[in-house]
C-alpha cells in the first residue's frame, strides 16, 4: 500500500513539474513565435511582457502585435520618461470628486481626476519664446481641414458653403489606460452615448448650446421624443401669409389648439418673434405698443392703441427727451424710477389700467390664467380659452381691453389677410410645438469616415481661426464605450449610469491613470504608460511628476501644517495667512476673469411691495425701501464704499475693480492681447469714473494709465452730497413724509442677501452695514439706515433672489468664463443671467459713433445681437440728437473690424455701469505658496497655461530626498 502511495505521489509530482515546464515553454514559444497572443502588452499565459523580436515602431509599439513596449524594457529614445525616482504632486483639497463621468459631472472637483486622465484633440502650449500660448495638435495629427465641399446636400450644407464641416485626423496608437485602442469610431460612439435621449446627460448641451461649436443635428438627436417648441407661428419678418385665421385651428385630444398637426403653445419666458420681450418681461416693465408722437408744445405724447394720449414726456432745451413724465395735463408728475415704470404711479392707474392689470407679478392680472396653466418650463399649451386670454393680454399690453383693441384695429384698418389684427397679433408671440420626431444618428454631423479620420459638421459655420481651434481643445466627451455601457442600468425603469465613480467603472486616456480611489478620502494617480505623450519627442522633459495624490482635508490649519511639513506641493493662502506670508519668495498671485459686484434692486414696484411687509429693526419705525429706486442713492452707496478696506478685510488678495470686465479678458486671441490694455477699454473706465478729460499733456494725469491708477472708487464727500440729493428727492416725491420727519420714527431698511454659512459674506455684511451707517453721518439719513440680512438663500443660486426682488442688495456676485471672448460674455449683463432684470435693456438706448456716423440702438441690441454677430438696423442720429431718418445696418461679430467691436464693447460697458444698478467692487484673485522643491515653467501667469501646470512642473528633489531634507530642517519649513 505504501509503495503504491509513494508511486502515486511521484507520478503526481512529476506531472506537476512537467506541466509547469510545459507552461513555461509553451508560453515562451507563444511569445516568440505565435504573435498576436499578447493582450495589452502582456502575455495572457505567463504574464511576461511582449518579447517579439521584430522591434518597435516609432510610437514604441511592437511591430508584430501592436502593443506598447512596457516601461521596464524601454531604452533611450523610445520612451523618454526615464527617471525611476518618485516625484509626487500632493494636494489636500476640502472636497474630492464623487463622480467624474465626462457626460454628467457637475462638480468642479471632478476635474481633480479628469484633468489628469483625459486628453484633448488640441491643446494650449507655450510658443517658442515661452511667453505666450499657441494651440497645438494633441490627439490630432494636424490642424482641422475644411471638408464642407465633400458633404454638400447633407447635414444642411448648401452648395458653396464653407467652414461647416471639418476633418480631424487622429494620431495613430492612441490608447486608453487599459491598452484598448482609441479610433475615430470611439469618439463617435462616445458622442452617441453623450447624446442618448433616454439619458438627457447634463453635458450634452455642450455640443449644441454652450460655446460656439455646435454640432449639426445633436440637439434634435438628444431631444427626440421630448415635447419641444419649434418656431414662433409668425417669424420676425412678420409676413402676412404667416398669420393663421383662428378659424382654422383645430382642437387636439386634450383640447390644445392645433394647426397642421402641431400644437400651439406659449413660452412665458420668451417673446417669440418679439425677441426677448416675453410676457414675464412685460409684466415687470410695462409696454405701450401704439407708439408716440410730438405735440405742438414739444412734449412727446404716448398714446394707447385707441390713439388716446396717456402720458407726456418733457423735451429738454437741447431737444433731447428728459426723464420727466406727466399726465396729459402737463402738471401731474408720474415719473417713477426708470422711464418705463411710470404707469405704476397711482395718479395714472385709472388711465392705464390695462398695464396696471399686468403688473404686480401678474397677480390679479388678465394673464394670470396663462401663468396658472404653465408647466415647469413656463410653457403653456394653448386651448381655446387660453388663446382668448392671450389675446386679451396682448390687448392689455396696448393699454386697452380686447374689445377696445379690436375696435381700434378695425377703425385703423389694421388687418392681416382680412383678419382683425387684434386677434392674430398673439401669433407673433406663440409657438408651434410638438413631440420631437425620432432623429437618426446618421443625420448627426459627427462621424468617422475611416479609422483615424473624424468629421465634425457644424450647425453654424466657423472659420478655421483661434475660436475654432479653441473650441476643438476638447476630447468630445470621449469615454471607454464598453465600460460605459456596462455601467448603464435601466433595471429600475430609470436610466442611471455610474461610469466614473470608482476605479472599476472608469477608463482614462490621459497622462495619468487612477490607481487609488476612496470617496471622501483619497485619490492617487500614477503615470499611464499607454499615453501617447510619453512616446512623443516633443514632450521630452515634461511630466516629471510620477504620482498625483489628493487627500481630503477639511480644515485650513491642518493643510497649512502639512504644507510646512513638506507634505504638500502647494498651499492656497487664506485671508488670515496673508499677513504672515506677504513677503514670501514662494508667494504667487493667481488672477481670475471674474469681477465681484455690488448688485442692487432699483425696482420701485418690488421695493414698495417689500416695504409694506417689512418689520422695522426699531419698533414703531416706519420702514422705507423705495429710496433705493433713486439713482443718486445707489451711486452714493457705491462711492461711500472703501473698496481697498473692504478687500483688506474680506479678501486681501483682491484688487479694486473699476469696470465690468476684468484684466484677464483677451481682446484678440490670435495675438493674446488683453482687452483692458486697449484704449477703448481704458476710456470706458475713465468715462464712468469721470476722468475722461483729466489726462493728457498739461492735465492732472499724464496718461490714461495714470488716471486709472488714481481711481479707488471711494469718495466719501461726494457720496454725502449724493445721499443728501437722494434724501431731498425722496422727500419731494413723498417717500419720506413730513410726519415721518417730525416724528423721526422712520428707517431706510436695506436687506442684504447672503448665504447662511460663509465667512466672506458674514464679514462682508458687517463691513457694509458699518461702512454705510458711517457714510450717512452728516446727512439727513443719519441714524435712519438699518440693515437686515436674509440667510435663507442657497449658496449657488442666490442671485435669483435679487432678480425676483426678495432682497435689496447682493455683494460678492459675478460671472466667470469666456476669457477669450469678452464680446460674447457681455451678454450676461443684458441677457437672462443679468442681476438687473428690472431695467429693460431693450428700451435703454445708446449712441455710438461708428465710421463717422452716430448710431442709436438699445443696450440689448448692441450687446446681445450686434456683438454676437447678428445684424441690427440703427437710426443715424444728427447733431441735434434726433434721428435723421437715415438707417444703417451693422453687425459686430467675429469677422467685424476689431476697432468696431472694441468700441461697442467698451461703450456698452460704460452704459451699463451708468445705470447704477451694478457696481464693480473686487477683482478675483487668490494667492498660493509654492513648495520649495517644485519649480514652475514661468514666473508669470500666462492665460490658458497658468505657470505650466503639472505638464511642466519640475522637482529639485524626489520624495525620499525631500522627506530627508525636511527632517534636516527640523521637520518644518520656513516660507515667511
Amino acid at each position: 500500500m505504501k509503495k503504491t502511495q509513494k508511486s502515486l505521489a511521484l507520478v503526481l509530482t512529476l506531472a506537476l513539474v512537467l506541466s509547469a515546464l510545459f507552461t513555461l515553454v509553451a508560453c515562451q514559444t507563444t511569445c516568440d513565435k505565435e504573435g498576436h497572443k499578447f493582450e495589452k502588452g502582456i502575455c495572457s499565459v505567463c504574464g511576461e511582457a511582449c518579447a517579439h523580436p521584430d522591434g518597435y515602431d516609432e510610437l514604441g509599439r511592437c511591430k508584430v502585435c501592436g502593443t506598447f513596449k512596457p516601461v521596464a524594457d524601454l531604452v533611450d529614445g523610445d520612451y523618454w520618461v526615464r527617471d525611476e525616482k518618485k516625484y509626487s504632486y500632493r494636494m489636500a483639497p476640502s472636497d474630492l470628486p464623487t463622480s467624474w463621468n465626462l457626460h454628467t459631472y457637475q462638480s468642479a472637483s471632478s476635474t481633480y481626476i479628469l484633468d489628469y486622465t483625459s486628453d484633448s484633440l488640441y491643446g494650449f502650449d507655450y510658443n517658442e519664446a515661452g511667453d505666450a500660448y499657441v494651440i497645438v495638435p494633441e490627439m490630432a495629427e494636424d490642424y482641422p481641414v475644411d471638408v464642407s465641399a465633400d458633404y454638400v446636400g447633407k447635414y444642411g450644407i448648401a452648395e458653396g458653403e464653407e467652414n461647416k464641416a471639418y476633418s480631424i485626423t487622429l494620431k495613430q496608437g492612441l490608447r486608453f489606460d487599459n491598452g484598448d485602442p482609441i479610433t475615430a469610431e470611439t469618439f463617435v460612439e462616445s458622442m452617441k452615448l453623450l447624446l442618448a435621449p433616454e439619458a438627457a446627460n447634463y453635458r450634452a448641451d455642450n455640443v449644441y448650446k454652450s460655446g460656439n461649436l455646435k454640432i449639426y443635428g445633436s440637439e434634435n438627436y438628444v431631444k427626440q421624443g421630448s415635447y419641444a417648441l419649434l418656431n414662433p407661428i409668425v417669424s420676425e419678418d412678420y409676413l402676412d401669409e404667416e398669420y393663421i385665421d383662428p378659424a382654422n385651428f383645430t382642437a387636439g385630444p386634450d383640447g390644445t389648439l392645433q394647426y397642421e398637426g402641431k400644437d400651439l403653445a406659449l413660452d412665458l419666458n420668451s417673446g417669440g418673434s418679439w425677441s426677448s420681450n416675453s410676457l414675464l418681461d412685460y409684466g415687470d416693465a410695462g409696454y405701450y405698443g401704439a407708439g408716440y408722437d410730438y405735440a405742438e408744445d414739444g412734449y412727446i405724447q404716448y398714446v394707447d392703441a385707441t390713439g388716446a394720449v396717456r402720458v407726456v414726456r418733457k423735451v429738454g432745451e437741447d431737444g433731447a427727451p428728459t426723464k420727466e413724465y406727466f399726465l396729459p395735463d402737463r402738471t401731474t408728475v408720474v415719473y417713477r424710477g426708470s422711464q418705463y415704470d411710470f404707469y405704476y404711479d397711482e395718479a395714472c392707474t385709472k388711465l392705464i389700467e390695462g398695464c396696471e392689470a399686468l403688473s404686480a407679478k401678474w397677480q390679479y392680472g388678465v394673464a394670470q390664467p396663462l401663468f396658472d396653466a404653465a408647466d415647469e418650463k413656463g410653457w403653456v399649451k394653448l386651448n381655446a380659452e387660453l388663446m382668448t386670454v392671450l389675446q386679451e393680454t396682448i390687448a392689455a399690453l396696448h393699454g386697452v381691453t380686447l374689445e377696445q383693441y379690436a375696435a381700434a384695429c378695425e377703425a385703423a384698418g389694421k388687418k392681416v389677410n382680412g383678419i382683425n389684427y387684434a386677434y392674430v397679433e398673439c401669433q407673433e408671440m406663440a409657438y408651434f410645438a410638438k413631440e420631437m420626431d425620432a432623429y437618426s444618428w446618421d443625420d448627426v454631423g459627427f462621424f468617422a469616415p475611416s479609422e483615424y479620420e473624424l468629421v465634425v459638421v457644424l450647425k453654424n459655420a466657423m472659420e478655421d481661426n483661434f475660436y475654432l481651434r479653441y473650441e476643438l481643445c476638447t476630447n468630445f466627451f470621449l469615454v471607454h464605450p464598453e465600460t460605459y455601457k456596462s455601467c448603464i442600468d435601466m433595471s429600475s425603469g430609470l436610466y442611471t449610469n455610474n461610469y466614473g465613480t470608482s476605479i472599476d467603472t472608469f477608463v482614462g486616456y490621459g497622462p495619468y491613470k487612477l490607481t487609488t480611489y476612496l470617496a471622501d478620502s483619497k485619490i492617487e494617480l500614477t503615470r499611464n504608460e499607454y499615453w501617447r505623450g510619453y512616446y512623443e519627442i516633443e514632450k521630452q522633459g515634461q511630466y516629471q511628476t510620477t504620482h498625483v495624490v489628493y487627500n481630503k482635508v477639511n480644515d485650513e490649519a491642518t493643510r497649512l501644517a502639512m504644507f510646512l511639513k513638506g507634505e504638500l506641493e502647494s498651499y492656497g493662502l487664506t485671508d488670515a495667512d496673508m499677513a504672515d506670508y506677504i513677503n514670501s519668495d514662494y508667494l504667487y498671485y493667481n488672477n481670475s476673469e471674474s469681477t465681484w459686484f455690488l448688485a442692487m434692486n432699483p425696482d420701485f414696484k418690488t421695493l414698495e411691495a417689500n416695504q409694506k411687509t417689512a418689520t422695522p429693526v426699531t419698533p414703531d419705525n416706519t420702514v422705507v425701501k423705495t429710496i433705493l429706486d433713486i439713482k443718486e442713492f445707489r451711486q452714493a452707496l457705491s462711492y461711500s464704499l472703501d473698496r481697498e478696506a473692504f478687500n483688506l478685510e474680506l479678501s486681501p488678495t483682491s484688487g479694486v475693480a473699476k469696470a465690468l470686465l476684468s484684466e484677464m479678458f483677451i481682446a484678440d486671441p490670435e495675438s493674446g492681447s488683453f482687452y483692458r490694455t486697449t484704449d477703448e477699454a481704458k476710456d470706458a473706465i475713465l468715462n464712468f469714473w469721470g476722468l475722461a478729460d483729466q489726462w493728457g499733456e498739461g492735465k492732472k494725469y499724464e496718461d490714461r494709465d495714470a488716471a486709472i491708477d488714481s481711481i479707488t472708487g471711494f469718495d466719501p464727500e461726494g457720496a454725502k452730497v449724493l445721499f443728501q440729493a437722494a434724501y431731498d428727492k425722496a422727500v419731494e416725491r413723498g417717500d419720506i413724509t413730513a410726519e415721518m420727519i417730525s416724528s423721526g420714527k422712520w428707517e431706510l431698511q436695506i436687506c442684504i442677501g447672503k448665504p447662511a454659512d460663509a465667512s466672506y459674506y458674514n464679514k462682508g455684511y458687517e463691513f457694509l452695514a458699518k461702512c454705510w451707517t458711517d457714510a450717512v453721518k452728516g446727512t439727513d439719513f443719519e441714524g435712519h439706515l438699518s440693515f437686515i440680512q436674509s440667510q435663507v438663500l442657497g449658496s449657488t443660486s442666490f442671485g435669483t433672489y435679487l432678480r425676483e426682488g426678495f432682497v435689496d442688495i447682493l455683494f460678492g456676485v459675478g460671472y466667470s468664463g469666456s476669457m477669450f471672448d469678452p464680446f460674447s460674455f457681455m451678454d450676461v449683463f443684458t441677457g437672462s443671467l443679468q442681476y438687473d432684470p428690472f431695467t429693460d435693456k431693450t428700451q435703454h438706448t445708446l449712441d455710438i459713433e461708428i465710421d463717422g456716423k452716430v448710431l442709436r440702438a438699445s443696450l440689448y441690441d448692441w450687446t446681445s445681437v450686434c456683438l454676437q454677430g447678428d445684424e441690427i438696423e440703427c437710426p443715424v442720429i444728427g447733431a441735434d440728437g434726433e434721428p435723421t431718418g437715415q438707417k444703417v445696418k451693422i453687425s459686430a461679430g467675429v469677422d467685424a473690424p476689431a476697432k468696431r467691436r472694441l468700441l461697442i464693447l467698451s461703450s456698452v460697458e460704460t452704459a451699463i455701469m451708468e445705470l447704477a444698478n451694478i457696481f464693480p467692487i473686487q477683482t478675483d484673485a487668490t494667492a498660493s505658496l509654492r513648495c520649495m522643491r517644485v519649480q514652475y515653467k514661468t514666473e508669470e501667469y500666462i492665460l490658458g497655461l497658468g505657470r505650466g501646470g503639472i505638464t511642466y512642473y519640475t522637482y529639485a528633489m524626489d520624495d525620499e530626498a525631500w522627506a530627508k531634507y525636511v527632517q534636516e530642517q527640523g521637520g518644518e519649513l520656513d516660507y515667511k
Partner: protein, 364 residues
Amino acid sequence: MYLFKYVLKRIGLMLMSFIVIFTMCFVLIKLLPNMPAESFGKDMELIKQRRELLGYDKPIMQQYWIYFFGRTAYEYEGVDEETGKPETKVVYEKKKLPEDILESETYTTRNVGGVIRGYFGTSEVLYLGQDVWDVFAQKVPYTVAINVYTMVFAVPLGLALGMIAATNKNKWPDHLISVGVIVFVSVPSFIYAFLIKYIFYIKLDIFPPFVDAINGAFSWEFLKSAVMPIASMAFGTIAGFARYTRAELTEVLTSEFMLLARTKGLSKGQATLRHALRNAMVPIFPMILGEFVGVMSGSLIIEQMFTIPGVGALYISSVQAQPTPDYNFFLLLTGFYTLIGLSAGIISDISYGIIDPRIRMGAR
C-alpha cells in the same frame, strides 16, 4: 407571552410611527425649491428633460407611490436596429410603445424598482449616478468602526473610573475623577480633537492628520491612524459613563442588601461586583445599548476633522446639496435613522426586563 405581545404591539406602533414620519419627510423635502438656477450656456430644457425622466414633474403623491412600488415596464418583441435580430424591448411609458404594439396589445407589463424591490434610488447630486444604498453601505463601516473602537475603549474605562470613584467616595480618587468628569462632560469632543491634533500631529508628528481608510474600516492601518479621533470621541463617553456609574453605584452601595451581603461574609469587592454593580447596571446598560445603536449616526465634526469617509455628514449634505436636495439620500437616511431611533426605544425598554427580571414588560 406578555413580553411577546408587548413586543408585537410596540413593533406595530413603531411601523405606524415610521410611516407617518417618513411620509411627512417625503412631502416636505419634495416641497423644497428644486430647480437649478439658469446658468451661462446651459440648456434648461435639457435639465427639465432629465427631471421629467426622473419623474420630478409628477404630483408628489405619485412620486411617493413610485418611490415605494416602482414603475411599470412595458415589454414587447422588437428587432435590434444594428443586428436586425429579434430582441425583447422595454419602455417605461406606455405612450412610448410602437403604435402597432399598442394597438395589438402584444406587450407585457411588470413592475420594476421601488423600495419594495430593494431599490432606494440613485443619487442625482452628491454621488452622481450611484445607488444610494451602495454608497451608504460603503460608508457605514467607517462610522461603525470608529464608534465601536471608541466604545470598546471608553465604556470599560468609564465604568471602571465610576466604580473607583464610587468605592472611594469623598476620597481623593473620587475628587480627582469627579473633576475630570466635569471637565470632559462640559467640553465638546471637537475641542479635544483640536488639542489632540495640535499636540500629536502638528507638534509631535506622532500620528497622521487624517485616517488611512484605503484598506477598509477594520484594517490595522485604519485603527493605527484613527487613534486621534478615537481619543477625541472617547473623552466624553468615558466621562459620561463614569458619572452615571458613580452615581448609581454610590446609591446601591448604601442599600440595606449590601449590608446583608457583607454580613453574609462577602468581601467588599465581591459584594460590589456581584450585587451592587449588577443593580447599578439597570439604568446604565440601556445607556450602553443606546450608545451602540447611535454608532450608525456618526460624528459629523470628528469625521470631517480627521477625514473619515463615514456617514456623519451625509444626512445634512443631502438636504443642503446644491443645486437641488439629494432626495434619495435624504429619504434613505430618514428611513434608516427613523427605524434605528424607534428600534432603540424598543430594545432599550426590553433590556430592562433582561437585566432585572423583576421588571415585567407588558405585564399588568
